[in-house]
């Protein structure tokens, strides 16, 4: 039987993390200016949710949701998400140092998109039964 907290956590995972982690990067379209892309990626990863209460980054969001989704640990999509979040953590560290080059940005964008896709897939698979 599904843990009752899982559907709620999956909704939050898809919306708060999966959608928000690619919002500004996607917003720029298919051929963005490199500086704008770096700025957008930084906003997506470091200030993934923004409200009057403050900004929360992608890593903190994911870590906050992970306990509620522990039952999915064996799922292939979850592993894919976990791997992609590993990439995100690495890029976040570079971004926080202000040292991201073009390759780091490209890697971060790929990782963010993989996170978005995995969140969506997990949601489809488990939240709707």
């Amino acid at each position: 039987m599904t843990d009752p907290t899982v559907p709620d956590a999956l909704d939050r995972l898809r919306h708060d993390l999966g959608k928000a982690i690619v919002r500004q990067v996607t917003w720029l379209g298919s051929d963005p200016d490199p500086d704008e892309l770096r700025e957008a990626l930084a906003a997506d990863l470091l200030a993934t949710r923004r409200s009057p209460a403050g900004a929360v980054g992608a890593v903190a969001l994911f870590d906050g949701l992970r306990p509620a989704l522990i039952s999915l640990a064996g799922d292939e999509e979850w592993r894919r998400l976990d791997d992609a979040m590993g990439e995100v953590r690495a890029v976040v560290r570079v971004l926080e140092r202000g040292a991201a080059n073009g390759d780091d940005v490209a890697r971060g964008v790929r990782a963010a998109r993989a996170v978005a896709e995995a969140c969506r897939a997990l949601h489809r698979k488990h939240a709707r039964g």
Binding site: P4, T5, D8, D11, R12, R14, H15, D16, G18, K19, A20, V22, R23, Q24, T26, W27, L28, G29, S30, A43, R49, R50, S51, P52, A116, R120, R128
Partner: protein
């Protein structure tokens, strides 16, 4: 508010507990104006109550991470899990509530349809005004295209034809009702004060949407002597009445297969009322003096600003005819003063029509030439901000005080009066500039508040009571337009003279006849000419008030 071409940019309300959407929109789609973010349904309500019809579109997020006290649909006995679920679908709750208060307000739900829980939205009318993103996350170009598509379609709908509907929900509903009535067989009854657009609506909405291929025929019953009314409407055979020298086709036959618009229905003679009843009951007419019934297929539209029920009570209007004019098909057009939120777009709309007229186009061309401006479009701008120079764009600037003057006027003549004032304001503003040395911004022609106020209070001059001993007549100022034909100038002068006389003699047609014809018994002739000039006693009385 700014206009792009002739259409204002969109006012978009962002409903989101985060700042990101509105920040992105402001940066990437700056041509629209954004309100918000409204972070809860209460803030949405506050914003829409304040701005009302000014909001063109709502961008609505789905998930709202807000305190339980700000959640729409939250109750005290809800568990933590239930509240969390409510936060996840708060956008849907807000959408449902919006639909009850503002059913036709366009809303873009900031998610893809496939990501919504099944059955989350009710089907039907609400969905007609609800859009989704193509994907869960979109790029700026896609969202811009979607917004422009929605706003463009909506404005195309509103700007269809010469009738101004504006953005108010009540008027859009009224328009839809008319479009439905246009297709039915029942007569349409148009009520509303003078100048509120009844004849435009009859022609450009009812007739245009009726699907009928016949003609649109309009008859103003106030201009037809009562004794000729029946013949005019239903036709007559030779010799049916004194002066009837040939068979005559009436308005009903002329409108066969089309639409007949009878304005000022209260003036219908008793005979004509009886014959109109025959048309409504049998679908046939009988020409005066004839025995033969002729079938007619006419969409009938009648208009009046009189209280017909009072006329029925007085015996001046047949009760059976009154009953036939079904209340369900009655549409009341509002007075202009009741459409206050619509001033700016109405001005833009009205001037777009006026600027298409040759005489104003000529004046604009003269001005451009004198000011050494290249050809291009004319843009109407209201408010305090003067836009930056753009090559070829001539700006007609209505400062805030000018707009305030327009908004504060009572407009007894309604849309007709508004169109005349707006057109004249532009005419005079341009004419004032021609011949003057160009200023710093020759591309901006300001319609000054004083000019607007003067026009609003000019009417047609004082009554001609000051006798000129030398000439044995009166002096009175007369308003005529540049480039009008001499015939039109003559009619305008005559009309203003009649109005001035009417005022000077307290509306007594016998006394007017004394002045005009030297015979007070000629009151009927004077009244007939008065009507032919398009003057209406009711209008003048309203203006006098």
């Amino acid at each position: 508010m700014r206009s792009t071409g002739n259409m204002p940019v969109g006012e978009i309300l962002v409903v989101d507990d985060e700042d990101r959407t509105i920040d992105l929109c402001r940066r990437a789609i700056p041509e629209h104006r954004y309100r918000g973010p409204a972070r809860s349904w209460r803030e949405v309500e506050r914003e829409l109550d304040r701005r009302g019809d000014g909001v063109d579109l709502v961008l609505l997020d789905v998930v709202f991470d807000v305190p339980a006290t700000d959640l729409l649909g939250a109750t005290e006995d809800m568990s933590k899990g239930e509240l969390e679920a409510l936060r996840r679908r708060q956008g849907i709750e807000i959408l449902g509530w919006l639909r009850r208060r503002w059913p036709e307000l366009p809303v873009v739900l900031m998610t893809s349809r496939e990501e919504l829980p099944l059955g989350a939205l009710s089907s039907g009318a609400a969905e007609e005004y609800t859009w989704f993103l193509d994907d869960d996350v979109v790029d700026a170009q896609s969202l811009r295209a979607q917004i422009d598509g929605i706003l463009g379609a909506r404005r195309g709908e509103e700007a269809d034809g010469p009738v101004y509907w504006g953005r108010s929900l009540a008027l859009r509903r009224l328009r839809r009702k008319l479009e439905v009535l246009a297709r039915g067989r029942l007569p349409v009854v148009l009520l509303g004060p003078t100048g509120s657009g009844k004849s435009l609506v009859a022609r450009h909405v009812v007739h245009a949407r009726s699907g009928r291929e016949g003609r649109f025929v309009a008859v103003d019953l106030s201009t037809i002597p009562k004794e000729l009314c029946a013949a005019h409407l239903f036709g007559a055979v030779k010799g049916a009445y004194t002066g009837s020298v040939a068979d005559r086709t009436g308005a009903f036959e002329a409108a066969h297969g089309g639409t007949l618009f009878l304005d000022e229905l209260g003036n219908l003679s008793a005979d004509a009322q009886k014959m109109l009843l025959q048309v409504l009951q049998e679908g046939t007419i009988t020409r005066l003096g004839d025995m033969k019934e002729r079938p007619v297929d006419v969409k009938l539209v009648v208009a009046t600003n009189e209280d017909l029920s009072a006329k029925v009570a007085d015996g001046a209007f047949r009760s059976d005819l009154y009953m036939r004019l079904n209340p369900a098909t009655t549409v009341t057009l509002p007075a202009l003063a009741d459409r206050a939120p619509d001033w700016e777009p109405l001005l833009t709309f009205t001037l777009a029509q006026a600027l298409a007229r040759p005489y104003l186009q000529g004046l604009v061309a003269d001005y451009r030439e004198a000011a050494k401006l290249s050809p291009g479009k004319v843009e109407v701008v209201t408010g305090a901000t003067v836009p930056a120079h753009r090559d070829g764009v001539l700006v007609l600037l209505f400062p805030e005080q000018s707009m305030r003057a327009l908004g504060q006027h009572r407009w007894p003549g309604n849309l007709r009066e508004f169109a005349m004032v707006a057109e004249n304001a532009v005419l005079f503003a341009l004419a004032e500039q021609v011949g003057l040395p160009p200023g710093e911004r020759p591309d901006v022609v300001q319609v000054r508040p004083k000019l607007v106020r003067d026009l609003l209070h000019s009417d047609v001059g004082p009554p001609p009571t000051g006798e000129d001993g030398d000439e044995g007549g009166w002096r009175m100022p007369v308003f005529v337009r540049a480039h009008d034909t001499l015939n039109k100038v003559a009619v305008d002068c005559e009309r203003q003279y009649f109005v001035a006389l009417w005022k000077a003699h307290g509306g007594d047609f016998s006394r007017m006849a004394e002045v005009l014809l030297g015979d007070s018994a000629g009151a009927r002739k004077v009244q007939l000419r008065f009507n032919q000039l398009g003057l209406k006693v009711r209008d003048l009385k309203e203006r006098a008030r």
